[in-house]
């Protein structure tokens, strides 16, 4: 190996990897195990990383694959992983208009994992729709609709919407729908 070793960069991505893992799993120890597995995989498979491409995207791909494979394994052992998580997070969201972080966390925890993942990749980790689509192995449109559904559902769970869940397809539809809804009052 000559010149700079891309593995020296791994440490720079640790805070972002960990933040994504924690936000996705809502469980610090599960998240840390995921990050640890990802580090070992990245280290030993560094020859598969193409220098000059986005290392964070590559690491996040490994991270989410690690998550989904351990989740599948856990599902075989426990019948309903999501049910257990949801149960422990079940709290009534506040409707006082002043949103507490905890209410947001609870709402975030209630989303389908694919929707939460898409929202975290786009809204928090700063990836483009294209990057997120590649990471998740789905179409760009799928990432867009997952993100929009996630937002719509969060709005509903946090009482930001006055009425039922909306069926969103894109941002334009969302603003048009909200506009017409308010106008009809």
């Amino acid at each position: 190996m000559s010149g700079s070793d891309p593995r020296d960069e791994l440490v720079e991505h640790l805070p972002a990897m960990r933040a994504f893992a924690i936000s996705l799993t809502r469980n610090g120890s599960v998240a840390d195990d995921m990050v640890q597995d990802t580090l070992v995989k990245a280290w030993t498979n560094i020859d598969k990383f193409q220098v000059g491409t986005n290392m964070r995207a590559w690491l996040f791909t490994i991270l989410r694959n690690t998550y989904y494979s351990s989740r599948r394994k856990a599902k075989r052992e426990v019948s309903d992983v999501d049910g257990v998580f949801t149960e422990s997070l079940a709290e009534k969201p506040a409707h006082d208009g002043h949103l507490q972080m905890n209410d947001f966390r609870v709402a975030l925890g209630k989303l389908k994992v694919e929707q939460r993942e898409a929202l975290l990749l786009i809204g928090a980790s700063g990836f483009s729709y294209e990057e997120a689509a590649e990471m998740c192995g789905v179409a760009v449109g799928t990432i867009k609709s997952r993100t929009n559904r996630a937002r719509a559902q969060l709005a509903e769970l946090m009482g930001l919407n006055e009425d039922e869940a909306m069926e969103m397809t894109d941002d334009a539809t969302m603003s048009v729908l909200s506009a017409s809804k308010v106008a009809s009052f």
Binding site: R7, L10, V11, L14, P15, A16, R18, A19, F20, I22, S23, D32, V35, Q36, L39, V40, W43, L99, M101, F104, R105, L108, L119, L120, G123, A124, S125, R151, L154, A155, M158, L160, N161, M174, S175, S178, A179, S180, K181, V182, A183
Partner: protein, 52 residues
């Protein structure tokens, strides 16, 4: 308030909370175990390199 700003406001509240949740996790810092794991991996490679 127009519908447009209502929607934007809603969007803003979600995004702000999202960033805060995420930033809080970033700010927690990284446990030492990860840095020592990287050191271990590095050391392992160096030892292997010597043997080859």
């Amino acid at each position: 308030m127009s519908g447009q700003s209502h929607s934007k406001e809603q969007h803003g509240v979600i995004d702000e909370n999202l960033r805060r949740v995420y930033q809080e996790a970033v700010d927690e810092g990284v446990p030492d175990r990860f840095k020592s794991l990287l050191d271990q991996l590095k050391q392992q490679d160096e030892e292997q390199g010597k043997r080859e």
